[in-house]
């Protein structure tokens, strides 16, 4: 689908087919790190950054694998490269920007097992995006992830003040909130998407 315009791809990835609320990718950090706004924002930004890096890597690997006709190795090479990319990002940040490294701290290694990253790499391959389109797709997905996790953090901060019956104080209510948020995002379906 090389004919899709870049703005369409961005809106599609960020809103209409939001990675968290419509495609169910990256739910672990969405439910785990959305308790407070102070952790939700760095998590969103770190994930977006890793998405961008791994999208570029995945594009290169796919070219290489296709040229050698060994696509069955795609999954193994993607996951290995994403894990090393996260490690690389971690080391680079530590060297050149210790402040940012400290702010992201524990979140960086957790991102390796975030299925939104691998999902992004796989989807851009299935959709046969070119380099620029992949880049925009990764940016859109990152923006959508950040938006979802920040909205959820805001809701959960309010929820903490609500007087709930005891059995409902666990993850159940967070999932219900996620459902309502997802319902709201379905309104964007009219803006495009498939």
């Amino acid at each position: 689908m090389p004919a899709e315009s870049l703005s369409f791809i961005f809106i599609n990835a960020a809103l209409a087919n939001n990675f968290v609320l419509a495609l169910f990718l990256g739910l672990c950090p969405f439910l785990g790190v959305s308790g407070k706004m102070e952790t939700a924002v760095p998590m969103g930004l770190a994930t977006s950054f890793v998405m961008l890096v791994s999208s570029i890597c995945a594009f290169g690997i796919n070219l290489l694998l296709t040229s050698f006709d060994i696509e069955f190795l795609r999954l193994i090479s993607y996951i290995a490269v994403i894990a090393s990319a996260v490690q690389l990002v971690e080391m680079t940040l530590k060297k050149f920007s210790p402040g940012l490294f400290r702010a992201l701290g524990i979140f960086l290694p957790l991102i390796t097992t975030n299925c939104a990253i691998l999902g992004l790499a796989l989807f851009q391959t299935f959709k046969e995006y070119n380099f620029l389109q992949s880049l925009v797709y990764a940016l859109g997905a990152g923006a959508g992830f950040t938006l979802a996790i920040v909205l959820m953090a805001g809701l959960r901060q309010r929820l903490a003040l609500a007087n709930l019956p005891t059995p409902a104080r666990g993850a159940a209510m967070s999932l219900m909130l996620g459902g309502l948020l997802s319902l709201a995002f379905m309104g964007f379906a009219g803006m495009g998407g498939h």
């Binding site: 609320l21 419509a22 495609l23 169910f24 990718l25 990256g26 739910l27 672990c28 439910l31 069955f72 999954l75 193994i76 996951i79 290995a80 894990a83 097992t113 975030n114 299925c115 691998l118 999902g119 796989l122 989807f123 299935f126 005891t166 059995p167 409902a168 666990g170 993850a171 159940a172 209510m173 967070s174 999932l175 219900m176 996620g178 459902g179 309502l180 997802s182 319902l183 379905m186």
Partner: protein, 216 residues
Amino acid sequence: MGMNKSDDVTWDSFAEGLWRENPVFVMLLGMCPVLAVTNSAINALAMGLATTFVLMASGLLISLMRHLIPKQVRIAAFIVIIATFVTVVDYSIQAISLDLYNALGAFIQLIVVNCIILGRAEAYASKRRPALALISALGMGAGFTFALLCLGVVREILGAGALFGFDLFGANFEPWVVMVLPPGGFIILGAWLLLFDWRKHRTQLRSLQEERGRAG
């Protein structure tokens, strides 16, 4: 997970994953496929079986190789082993049923990053002998499949008025379409968790009352 340190294969090493430490309802692991592919019972069953296979095969291999894998690179080694079996499943499903393959989409390949599998490899399979790892993986897989089916059945009945593709209510039934759409997944899983938490809360209250009754 590590409560039963003995090396015997018991009923408990299987049943633990099925119920008391159910990966979805108790440990809240591997949520992405739980919500994404449970819009019909058949998809849920297929996903559950695929995950069970990967859990068992990778658990067995990792347990067999537990003395060969150096500690420093164990996570990378586990990931490569898991990814290999996921690739096997991916191509098998494609060969068995193309419809199913299209319905599950990228989520078959995303089994790689299902935290249940890596979690079990790290915490259990890499430390136990093969028979134990295999039985425990079967239990965890069964528990995961059970949870997926719980969601898939409810969502398909409410959202499509059918079960495993068979119409249940006849032509006059107005399906509750939102249940097969993404929000339904969140809401039904929330409802199941609420049910389990409520039951746990009630048994806790009851045992507390009994204790008090005995004391007074």
